[in-house]
Symmetry: C3
Subunit: 345 residues, 3 copies
């Protein structure tokens, strides 16, 4: 286990207090013991310091007076906390070997120190960069290229001819590059449109578990560098997810929609197809995005939960809204009040 002094050196921070103190783990202010390192991410949490038993705390230098114990001083305490989690990381390590029960095509080109675990299947003409880790039971389809240091977790499926960059993580049971949902209606039923394009994922992208990124019909689906995508997210065919955009769980992006850089798309947001979303757009949970968003900023939709009986009344009135608006206009006419807006629509 590291000492505070060792942590200060590794994280390149100024230390207040005893450099020899040994730190056992990271913990929240509430649960930290004298053996733990904690952190204050925002000024509004400073009040929690008084009750904390933490052995040391990551703090902004401006807040140092609020804490008499050991401290690591950082201009960006939350980022420092994130970096510290790597030092305490307890994930299993890659074997650096190809398991005898993995199936690897002869024509696959395998980099140095690649790990391929039991039951994984790597098809013909795959290219794996150095230190790539293909988890147990994962599938990598024909001709797919995966960049150095990328990890494909157990039972994830990467279909044929996909491109994934370096330092990415694809979590378990996620599917990259299955067919987009494209069919033409005909008198004899739906006629499948073969999805001839692929998926291109940049560097430093993380995609959660049980998500799906579909391959394009004619244009590739693209996830740009540094984007982060949570669990059970649907990325339709031909979508572009801009650099460093974050998409939370169960959001769905319909085909051909183009999302800018640094957007934050909350959980269960749904976006229609063929939209353009500007850079730096934030959409609140369950947001219903049916048209393009041209201005950065925060947007939301939906209604708040209410006790059931109250909600039934609200919901019923919602369907009468247009009538209510018209009655309001009639009243204004009758009373002689000027209308404040055109509500004749």
């Amino acid at each position: 286990m590291p000492t505070l002094g060792g942590l200060a050196t590794a994280l390149e921070l100024e230390l207040q207090g005893d450099p020899e103190r040994v730190i056992q783990r990271l913990a929240s202010l509430e649960s930290a013991t004298p053996e733990d390192l904690s952190f204050v991410s925002e000024k509004k949490h400073l009040s929690k310091l008084s009750g904390s038993r933490a052995g040391a705390v990551i703090l902004h230098p401006d807040w140092a007076a609020s804490w008499s114990g050991c401290a690591l001083l950082s201009d960006t305490p939350y980022v420092t906390f994130a970096r510290a989690t790597r030092i305490f990381d307890n994930h299993p390590q890659a074997s650096g070997q190809i398991h005898q029960r993995a199936s690897v095509a002869d024509s696959a080109r395998i980099g140095a120190d690649v790990s391929i675990d039991a039951g994984a299947c790597v098809e013909a003409d795959v290219v794996l960069g150095d230190r790539v880790w293909i988890g147990a039971g994962a599938y990598v389809g024909h001709g797919t290229h995966i960049g150095a240091d990328t990890v494909i977790k157990p039972n994830a499926v990467i279909c044929h001819e996909v491109r994934i960059g370096a330092r990415c993580t694809i979590h378990p049971n996620t599917t990259i590059g299955a067919d987009g949902f494209g069919f033409a209606p005909s008198a004899e039923g739906w006629v499948k449109i073969e999805q001839l394009a692929s998926v291109i994922i940049g560097d430093d992208v993380e995609i959660g578990s049980n998500s799906a990124v579909d391959r394009g019909a004619l244009e590739d689906t693209i996830v740009e560098d540094g984007a982060i995508i949570d669990n059970m997210v649907q990325i339709g065919h031909g979508v572009r997810v801009g650099s460093r955009t974050a998409i939370a769980s169960q959001a769905g992006i319909s085909g051909s929609t183009q999302i800018g850089a640094r957007c934050v798309i909350a959980g269960q947001v749904g976006m229609a197809g063929h939209l353009t979303i500007a850079d730096d757009v934030h959409i609140g949970g369950q947001g219903r995005v049916a048209s393009s968003v041209t201005e950065p900023g925060h947007y939301s939709s939906g209604t708040p939960i209410q006790p059931l009986r109250a909600w039934l009344r609200s919901a019923s009135r919602f369907t009468q809204l247009d009538q209510m608006a018209r009655r309001l206009s009639e009243l204004e006419k009758a009373v002689g009040l000027e209308q404040k807006e055109d509500d004749s629509a």
Copy 2:
């Protein structure tokens, strides 16, 4: 196939009618034949008895006069029906063996009569209780403990250091213990927060297919005894799901939210993070839970479907609601009607 008398004995119920009658299967009142056992779950369904051809019916004793045929009398007919399904269960049985194409680490501790099917992978230091069944292609990560009689279905993924209790079922393609979605924003992009804690699942928990329960960053994600979780449910990192709480398909619970006991969360509900939900709270389908719920009861949100043109008008008026409320106040002032509430917000 059992006789009615045998069923009465097994289910510890009073029988009306012929104990020698053989029952072939369970069926609804509408589709039951004279060889089938059916049931009336609630008094309101009694009217269906008159048209039913069922060979026997599970009934509350108070309703016995409504049916002249064979009957099994139960104070809780729906629970009795549930218990009866076990007698007619037709699921394939466990082999009780470790398949030669399973990969099991030498250091794994395997209980009595454990089944591990083809292509499954059990990593180092795993502990499997008696009669655990690991389905084909499933993955059990390093150091994970699984209690007696728990079934992990094909291609499910249980990551490292997870704890799962006894008599649980984890359905196919579900992921337990993948990383929670934790990243700190920095000038250089998102910095990953390694998820250092784990997932703890109690006894008698069922989790459907294609769901995800993420591991915690610093605090474990917890699913308490007797909770039931449907397909494609997202349980974020650090969430607690209380005992006997039911969560229906495609609901999503964001990180650190604490849900009480005996709640019922309907399909596609979305909960923000860091909330507290009391015991015995029911949330209706697609509910948008953005703040804590402190009182038990039924809650709902959203709007009902309407024909498209009518809905377009309602939705448009929704965005004018605040103006409408202000116009209403102006009218009330003009007419000299007292305002019933403060709507100056």
Copy 3:
């Protein structure tokens, strides 16, 4: 690569222009080069022809005057485009062999030219039609029947005793036939209702990745011929999806709901259980379907996104809607305006 003349013959279309011109690929009008074949799906897109560099275009005969280059004339240009994608299809082909690392039970009945890839598991009494392709790591449970030319993609799980027709595609990580979510509440907690029925899928059905179709408790779950289902779709136990109905990503259909033929269910729609949806019903994205729909047509629900502050006002007013309606009635009474509707509810 085909010539225009070859394409005209294969697609049975009239060709305008040089039959010897070689076509390298299909492309949109915007990105097509002189080596590419493009298409105009609808009249409203004709204006894009003027800027296109396409080597040839699939066009309706009525629009032929709008384009001076090579053309394939079709009464249904979008369907023709879909058919053309098959000619340019670049998906990997089946091996026609049973991989030595597949696990196939002795009692399974395997048709001609079946492919079973590495790590796949085919259980006892399975029946696979001719040319069925079971992808790497996929699972086919005891007694399941799969019709000719159906493809089960990598890591999909088909549980026991399921019936799947001919020419279907089940995409990766999808689960067919896991237990429906059925439990009876008792004083001792939830009592599981064993799901004794199964899933029946017709011919020419496509189901996307990471979806789930649950087996029924007493009645089979049914997906009729020609239905198409996208990614992460939940089909509850006992549901019937009518012929040629399309269900988009992340929609969820609760147990026992019956959906008619040729419906279009958009992304993230949620349907309650035990409903009946008529033929030819279209439900817009995120639609909240809480009661049966008896008339064909287009329906929608929800509210549009707004900038956050404006939305907060709208959402707050939504909870006051019933009061607003009552105040409106009071005003109408005070002013002597006749009420246009019964809003005493």
